[in-house]
Subunit: 296 residues, 2 copies
């Protein structure tokens, strides 16, 4: 069995080594852009941010494994993706715990007003503040997938579910903290625009760990400046790295992290993909096959 | 039944109202310093930061209830406290959850390096950092009382217990994050001095939600400046409010909050004390009676 591996970062060698350990029967080939005109023949491809030209040549593989949870960066190539080849995304693979930690930290920071205390401390100010009350601090998680469910588990009991665009406004009106964990698809792109963000209660908080393109960034900034939104913790942006001249850097009520809420863990990911390859080889069905019509 | 209530803050009226609701059969009297030379006779006293002169006159009461978890501020009066009157501190009363939130937030902040990301963001810097690994990030909780247990529950499984001063050094050497939740007694005062803090692993973190007097503040500062201790989150200090000229305010690796990790919740506390008063009236034993020889 031949596996073709592509990733443009410095980790390709380590991924190859891990695959050789987990699937000693496989022949692992790394591919680099410009390395050769033709892709070597293979049964499976394992890719991270591949070029469209590579994807076009993968019409004969049994599956393309994407080493991330969101496949928007792959599906954007549209027709360059061979139509009949299954695209498989990562399931949890250790990312759920990381996202739960990230979101829980941000929620506690707002709920317990550590952001306000930090601003006070910078001025040398000692003033205990009234505490927020849980009943006025409901947390709305947009996106109830594998990762969203892990985050909900970490936040504790008392979950009410909403679905579809008809219930979206009711959901937003009730969410003092909005946590975005949606996949990026044509339907969810720009979902959080001025009108949607304005539906959040006064002094709401926004936490985005999904994709920057879900949020209309200038609208978010306007609503923070106006005081309607009290603060935002953003791990993802339209353009990454966030450009140095981007106004978010200057807004103290926006907390910026460099797309680290959940990093792909190599060993967990290789183990998961190796297991799926064995299942496919044995003729079993596997989880996390992307439904291209839904976009995730 | 007569209950005498003393607190020097603006909340005395609200406490009285809550007690009247919870114990309608009781006669609640507020007392203010200087209000009268003699204390009115009473069966129970419910106090917060009372003057020594008041305590001396409480020799006839059936119990003195302190509306806090730590009674060091009461026991410091020594002989002014009638020797045979039970001192009763608050049990959990909603404080455990608050402390767990506070500690969990601080631990996640260090574990996921949000303090480093914040420092980077202030400079407009976008750099993903290597993640800490759980196996190098064990958390040592000093003090396994009602509140300490709640914090341990929130931090998750995998608890190893140490006890006594002989095991203290082993415990410190293994604690990348030290969480202090001890009661303040003559034995624990100044426990965390230069030698104890130096026993922590390189780049350790200190979280103090107990009392400022547990820590030798200049030693902590020295060890932070030297880089041995990577950061501290402090909610309590020798002198509160922390004086404006205190060097802690100028140290970016020290996070200061104004003694808010667990505030006394009035309704929960009144309900707890009222329940204990009913138990005592009915001749039942109650929890949280202070052992003066231990100091908590």
């Amino acid at each position: 069995m031949r596996i073709l591996l592509y990733r443009p970062d410095s980790e390709a060698q380590a991924w190859t080594a891990d695959f050789s350990k987990m699937l000693p029967e496989a022949d692992i080939t790394q591919w680099r852009e410009g390395a050769s005109d033709k892709l070597p023949p293979c049964d499976y491809a394992v890719v991270w941010a591949p070029p469209a030209a590579m994807l076009r040549e993968l019409a004969e593989v049994k599956a393309i494994f994407h080493t991330g949870a969101g496949v928007d960066a792959l599906l954007k190539f549209g027709d360059a993706l061979p139509a009949h080849v299954p695209i498989v995304r990562l399931g949890d693979a250790g990312m759920g715990v990381q996202m739960a930690e990230y979101v829980l930290h941000a929620v506690l920071r707002y709920f317990r007003r550590f952001d306000d205390y930090e601003a006070q401390a910078r001025k040398g100010e000692w003033t205990p503040l009234p505490q927020h009350r849980k009943e006025n601090f409901s947390i709305g998680v947009l996106g109830m997938g594998v990762l969203g469910s892990r985050v909900l588990d970490a936040l504790g009991p008392g979950v009410q579910c909403f679905s579809g665009t008809t219930e979206l406004e009711t959901f937003l009106r009730g969410s003092r903290v909005l946590v975005n964990m949606l996949p990026l698809t044509p339907e969810t792109s720009n979902l959080l625009d001025r009108s949607r963000l304005s539906a959040l209660p006064h002094q709401a908080y926004v936490i985005n760990v999904a994709r920057g393109a879900h949020i209309a960034e200038p609208d978010l900034l306007t609503l923070i400046k106006s005081g309607h939104i009290a603060g935002a913790t953003l791990d993802v942006f339209r353009n990454e790295p966030l450009p140095v001249q981007h106004p978010f850097w200057q807004e103290p009520r926006i907390t910026i992290t460099p797309h680290i809420s959940a990093t792909t863990l190599r060993q967990e990911s290789v183990a998961q993909i190796a297991g799926k390859i064995r299942d496919l080889q044995a003729g079993r069905t596997i989880a996390d096959v992307v439904d291209r019509s839904r976009g995730y």
